[in-house]
């Protein structure tokens, strides 16, 4: 086995994993802390990506799209929480599956009505449009490297917010025992609304900044949906650290699967799921989940 090639593929896997973490981070928050199984997670990613398309056209820069897109996403998150999710807190979690499944159908169709069905792409900021040579034949896209840095920054911020702030403390407490938190006089309804909005805006942020690296077409939301759940579950629900490690592992499994298993049709695609099954058998509550 070629060592350089292996190292490069490892690097690819880590890059892929970092992006997966960003995409899944919103889900970690909503899923881990509120226990809401949000199937519409992919839709929020999709909305972010298409917001990037419209807003970069309008403001002329990706930076503008982020600045405008995040508040829009927060409002969307608050609205959806208030309109739909809030009615389901004291009901079976599966009702949330049903409701968010309904939301997927609606968002998909709205996407098609508002933005059409043609594939689009969002231009990279001029500063980051180039490539950095790695070997004599291969270069890395500067934007992709930038994306990795952003993912690391987001991961760091999330960790700090959850472990070092009062909001984070409440979030962790709410995840552990919502009733107890309520009896301590903390308004869990409001806490959950905030958490949901943060989750949605994180997911939308992932969509916005991933957009220039990806392409936009109907159905992109569903592409990230399942893999995001896989990431969160491998890491252990409610653990940002776990999601981070899970994302990197998944990124590596996916890339190694593609690089070394493509002679075995069917196994390359299944690599990430095999990894997940293996992890859950070894540790039935994920790598960093509470026992």
């Amino acid at each position: 086995m070629d060592v350089t090639l292996f190292l490069l593929q490892t690097l690819n896997g880590i890059q892929h994993g970092l992006l997966l973490f960003l995409v899944a981070s919103g889900l970690t928050i909503i899923f881990g802390i509120m226990g809401v199984i949000n199937l519409a997670h992919g839709s929020f990613y999709m909305i972010g990506a298409y917001l990037a398309l419209s807003l970069t056209q309008w403001t002329g820069s990706l930076f503008g799209a982020v600045l405008l897109g995040i508040p829009i996403a927060i409002l969307l998150g608050l609205a959806i929480e208030r309109l739909f999710i809030v009615h389901l807190y004291d009901r079976d979690h599966l009702q949330q599956v049903l409701l968010t499944f309904g939301l997927i159908l609606i968002f998909n169709e709205l996407q098609s009505i508002v933005w059409g069905d043609d594939p689009h792409s969002v231009p990279k900021p001029a500063m980051l449009a180039g490539s950095v040579p790695v070997t004599e034949t291969l270069s890395y896209s500067t934007y992709r490297l930038f994306l990795s840095v952003v993912c690391l920054v987001v991961a760091g911020c999330l960790y700090l917010v959850i472990h070092r702030t009062r909001l984070g403390m409440r979030m962790r407490a709410g995840a552990y025992n919502a009733e107890m938190v309520r009896s301590l006089g903390i308004d869990t309804r409001r806490l959950f609304a905030v958490v949901f909005a943060i989750g949605v805006s994180l997911t939308a942020l992932a969509g916005i900044i991933a957009a220039p690296d990806r392409s936009l077409y109907p159905g992109i939301g569903e592409q990230v949906l399942i893999i995001s759940f896989v990431v969160v579950v491998i890491g252990g629900i409610g653990s940002v650290k776990g999601a981070f490690v899970g994302a990197i592992l998944i990124g590596l499994a996916d890339v190694y699967g593609q690089a070394y298993l493509h002679d075995f049709r069917g196994f390359a695609s299944a690599a990430v799921y095999a990894l997940m099954a293996a992890v859950l058998l070894w540790r039935p509550t994920g790598l960093f989940g509470r026992r």
Binding site: L94, G102, L105, E109, S269, Y273
Partner: protein, 331 residues
């Protein structure tokens, strides 16, 4: 104590089945196919309800068994003649049961959301196996050229190629499955799995090997899903990898929750309502120009049911709660 139908539900169900029995007399080919599909999915949803509503296990990979059985029929069917139902059905169900036992042994170790995700993961592996590998046509899917015939000795008793035959056969399967589940749930075994749903720790403390009970329930449920998949493959004789995909599993969940889980008949209502509603919203006659955006209507329908029908559609038929003097909640 156990949600077993009383005489009234039994009468209602008998009426429903009677109504279903006359469909072939009034419906044409398409209506018959839709009705067959409804019945097949009712069996599928009911099998899922055994896990969801009675054992407390939420499987997000149940379509794997549905699809695996359908593919098994494709693989055991010879190309130039019909397979014999007597051998083909046990073969397909055997493959499904074997797969379910294997998967079950792995997944019953996990609980809650981890159970959901590990079933999903293992099901996706099956999906990719059929999607990417050249077996049975890969991503394009494959045909079952001749539908199974029930042959004993030299006489063909039942040819599932006949649409009405298949319909009645499926209907009979639905009735049998329903009856079977009622019996199972009333049996000591049924009591135990329902106990597990409510409080697994307690059941374990009582000395039950809960994992084993969950495994048996899982395999039973998969077998029934396999029967549904087998019947589905007989409707049009076409199998495609999407049959095993997460979307199909998700739709199964939606049907059960829509109908109201933990009631069995709710799953039947859920399957009928979901497919029936889709027929309606896609039809220009009913929804006019909105038919083009039928997915929005479908989404709204699903959301309305969640928000306003707390216990799914079956909740419509449930009795209003009897007001009793306030007593302490059971621990």
């Amino acid at each position: 104590m156990v949600t077993i139908p009383n005489r009234r539900v039994a009468v209602a169900l008998a009426l429903v089945f009677a109504a279903l029995a006359v469909v072939p007399l009034v419906g044409e080919t398409y209506a018959l196919k839709v009705a067959t599909r409804m019945i097949v999915f009712a069996i599928f949803a009911m099998s899922l309800d055994l896990l969801l509503g009675y054992t407390g296990l939420v499987s997000f990979g149940h379509a794997a068994f549905f699809g695996l059985s359908a593919y098994s029929l494709q693989l055991v069917s010879p190309e130039s003649e019909a397979a014999n139902l007597i051998t083909a059905l046990p073969q397909c169900l055997g493959v499904t049961a074997a797969a379910a036992a294997l998967i079950g042994m792995l997944v019953v170790r996990t609980a809650g959301i981890y159970f959901i995700m590990s079933t999903l993961a293992l099901a996706q592996m099956f999906f990719f196996f059929f999607h990417d590998s050249p077996i049975a046509g890969g991503s394009d899917g494959a045909y079952i050229w001749y539908k199974p015939v029930l042959t004993i000795g030299a006489t063909a008793l039942l040819d599932l190629d006949g649409r009405e035959t298949l319909y009645y056969f499926a209907l009979a399967c639905l009735v049998l499955c329903y009856g079977f589940l009622v019996v199972v749930l009333r049996s000591p075994f049924g009591e135990v799995i329902q106990g597990i749903r409510v409080n697994e720790h307690r059941m374990r403390a009582l000395g039950y090997d809960t994992r084993r009970f969950k495994l048996v329930s899982f395999v039973l449920s998969a077998l029934m899903a396999g029967l549904a998949g087998f019947l589905f493959a007989c409707i049009d004789g076409f199998v495609a990898p999407q049959l095993l995909g997460w979307r199909e599993s998700g739709i199964g969940l939606v049907m059960v929750i829509l109908g109201g889980m933990g009631t069995l008949y709710g799953s039947i209502i859920g399957a009928f309502a979901f497919i029936g509603m889709e027929e309606i919203v896609r039809d220009r006659q009913f929804t006019g120009v909105m038919a083009e955006h039928w997915q929005i209507l479908m989404g709204v329908f699903v959301i309305v049911v969640v928000l306003f029908l707390k216990n799914g559609l079956a909740g419509l038929f449930a009795e209003p709660p009897i007001r009793r003097p306030a007593t302490k909640e059971e621990p």
